[in-house]
Symmetry: C2
Subunit: 508 residues, 2 copies
Amino acid sequence: MKINLDRESRTPLYLQIKNQVRQLILGRVLQPGYRLPPERKLAAALGVNRSTVVNAYRELEADGLIESHVGRGTVVKYVPDRESGDEAYSTVQPPAWKNLFSSRASRMFNPFISDMLELVTSEDTISLAVGVPAREFHPSEDFNNIISGLINKEGGCLFEHGPTAGHYPLREYLAQFMRNKGIQAGPDNIIILSGSQQGLDLAAKVLIEPGDPVVIEEQTYMGAIQVFATAGARILSVPMDEEGMRLDILEQLVSRYRPKLIYTQPTYQNPSGITMSGSRRRDLLRLVYRFHVPVIEDDPYSELCFEGGPVSSLKSLDAADHVIYLSTFSKMLFPGLRLGWMAAPADLVRQLLMAKQLDDLHTNSLAQWAVNKYCREGLLQGHLEKVRGEYHKRRDAMLASLAEYAPSGLRWSRPAGGFHVWCRLPEGVQAGSLLAYSVEKKVAFVPGGIFYANGGGKEMFRLSFSRCSPARIRKGISIICDALRDLSNTGPDHKKDTRHVREEGQLF
Amino acid sequence: MKINLDRESRTPLYLQIKNQVRQLILGRVLQPGYRLPPERKLAAALGVNRSTVVNAYRELEADGLIESHVGRGTVVKYVPDRESGDEAYSTVQPPAWKNLFSSRASRMFNPFISDMLELVTSEDTISLAVGVPAREFHPSEDFNNIISGLINKEGGCLFEHGPTAGHYPLREYLAQFMRNKGIQAGPDNIIILSGSQQGLDLAAKVLIEPGDPVVIEEQTYMGAIQVFATAGARILSVPMDEEGMRLDILEQLVSRYRPKLIYTQPTYQNPSGITMSGSRRRDLLRLVYRFHVPVIEDDPYSELCFEGGPVSSLKSLDAADHVIYLSTFSKMLFPGLRLGWMAAPADLVRQLLMAKQLDDLHTNSLAQWAVNKYCREGLLQGHLEKVRGEYHKRRDAMLASLAEYAPSGLRWSRPAGGFHVWCRLPEGVQAGSLLAYSVEKKVAFVPGGIFYANGGGKEMFRLSFSRCSPARIRKGISIICDALRDLSNTGPDHKKDTRHVREEGQLF
């Protein structure tokens, strides 16, 4: 039993002894039944009066942590503080938690994202499942330098509370960044988020009443579906064609249900890779102006553009403040910092800030300062140029391998940017079966069903090309295609694909 | 007009020109009406074929960004992409946001914390208002070394997604940390939070249905009041005495209303500084076992103990899993990292994790790794020893200055740890009036009203001693006491204090 006394301390010696023994007992270093040294002996060892040890032991005994037995000396009791030793409470049941849950809790479902986040770190699988930047492109060295520089120069500032809306210089930077995309928003229209997922949660808290209709694209980001469903929204799905959300269907839904919100990812959509055309964007705005429906434009991928040049965001086309813009550094840089932002009209910002304050007070300060410095040193643009080229190569490798290996009947999209290729299986084959086959061969992808709010998508799957080298992508695709051939030939759910083929392999 | 062409790029030259001119127009570098160089001239300047520039200009014109006039050449149009130029939509009104808000949003109130967070950074005021660690104690250098070491050694890992429950080694560390306090919880019972505020928000989401009764201490952390109120809870306040929550009143409320939750800060409570006695803790547990009411124990301050030795947490006494334990690194270390944690029974953890995933996927990875390393290198214990001593001195300075300067009738608490001293004004003086006087003299504190859910507290105020040196505390207290004397002598709300004085200055 090791006790260290600090004779300079204001804490009396007997209390120092008591506290240290207490910690040893609670931490199970001293087990129940352990015999403590006799008072006189411990006093001698520590160089204190016997009465000091007597006082310490007396307090420990009063706390029920030790007990004295004639003959056996002083021994440690079994964590006696806990009520478990108390006869009357030995039968108390823990609360039946599930019966205490709110109706909101009962609407939460499918912790699939968590599972996927854990998959990211598995090394021996070719993961075409996660749409996350490749580790080898993370600008770790630059961030190391920036963070060190900041800590040396700014000292404690980085560790302090900051404003709920976020670090002002970063908001200024983002205002300029968006201005370069044609979006007019000042720093006061911007909220820095702990990841863009938080923006969805805040918008749902502030805008969605249980029962409110919310429109989404038929297949979309599952984190958005989950947030809206948990908020109790009635979810309405609009099918997409190669130009994006189908406005003929949207108009029917909007005029019938007057939704509270439309959620769209117009650029390099997850999972479909579709980009909404310019004329579709203008027509969408005309439609929402007519019915006064706010739109959330979720735009995580627009900087990762390979072809066709940058696309005008919905927000940049919006003349009447109907669009709430949401983006993130998770795809441009890396996701671990949890840093996103939203731009919204002032009336809405005020209310979103109240919700954010209740949620986490504000976003991690160090992350905000570091990203601000990184961007202001011009490093973001260089990084984006580099990764755009690399992801472009990976997309090309995926498309080329699909063209080379795909059995007839498999269709896929050709995204002009972003991370995802969206595939449709030949009739009669289900993505779940294919995944089971592929995972055995150490290749993972995401079956389509989870991107649908209301069922469907069993024949669809998503391939993400961001995490793997072109060679691994090639290998992964060839394995998946082999698995698909096996499954088509032998599987019980195989039927011949007879649908019209627009062009070999093309989905949209 | 500066254009840089990259002849190695896969992007065709005409598109490079188009994209760069587009960005100059959208970024307002080229103003509406600006005349672009003639095609032939630009082609010569860039060393490209004229047709390349013609194609670029044609696309820009198709996008509505420029227009050709016979005689005037090619000029920039006024951000013509925006629908504002469209006659039919020039009169479209932005959405009437306030009418779109949810009933949850309408329950959010008082963005006082945001205001306080901004006050932290004001230099010329003696702030006794914020209960936040002093900047001069932030272990910046240690964190700098740790973060650099981590980035060099772990590379990209730190920037990756992590599990929703948090970095496993940190959860293991915290399990041991809590075990040393007598709390039995494994890593799987622990969720790392983006600040402990998030824990309150998650618990409210998972457990509170609008209308559910929730019990709080009569004066308590305003962030908790706000979260429960926003969730639609019916808030029941229990008065406190010097041993904590009054159980005679609590029993009445519990047996009548069967609350969904009891929220308590039993140790060095904010704002009162009161510590619940050991016997009160045991009696509280007996009471909640009888009625099966879960308890949230919010424990941010227990490591900042000056007197009387460590206190056994409620959770350590709980034999039947009724207590949800919540804590944070914000008071032990610093708040800017937004890092807290909660420990809860497995059934509840599962549901809380679903809620956390919808909220922010997971907490900032770098912050988690850095704090884990810091703790595992044994630096936390040393830091706590140091700051305990420093805050002890600051508390003593505050109590001594109050004893020296306070006019008769002012009462204050003597906290054994934490950051806060709780004061009652002489009858007839209101804290709001005193604050107005004090702020003019550059001293700030928090008037008591905001710590009460259901009105009251106008004669109370909170002094926090964490942020200022003993000398500044002394100066601040003397200024407040002078202000109080002025106000008592001249103020319209002055009456003579006639209440019984238990002991000079003592509140509890």
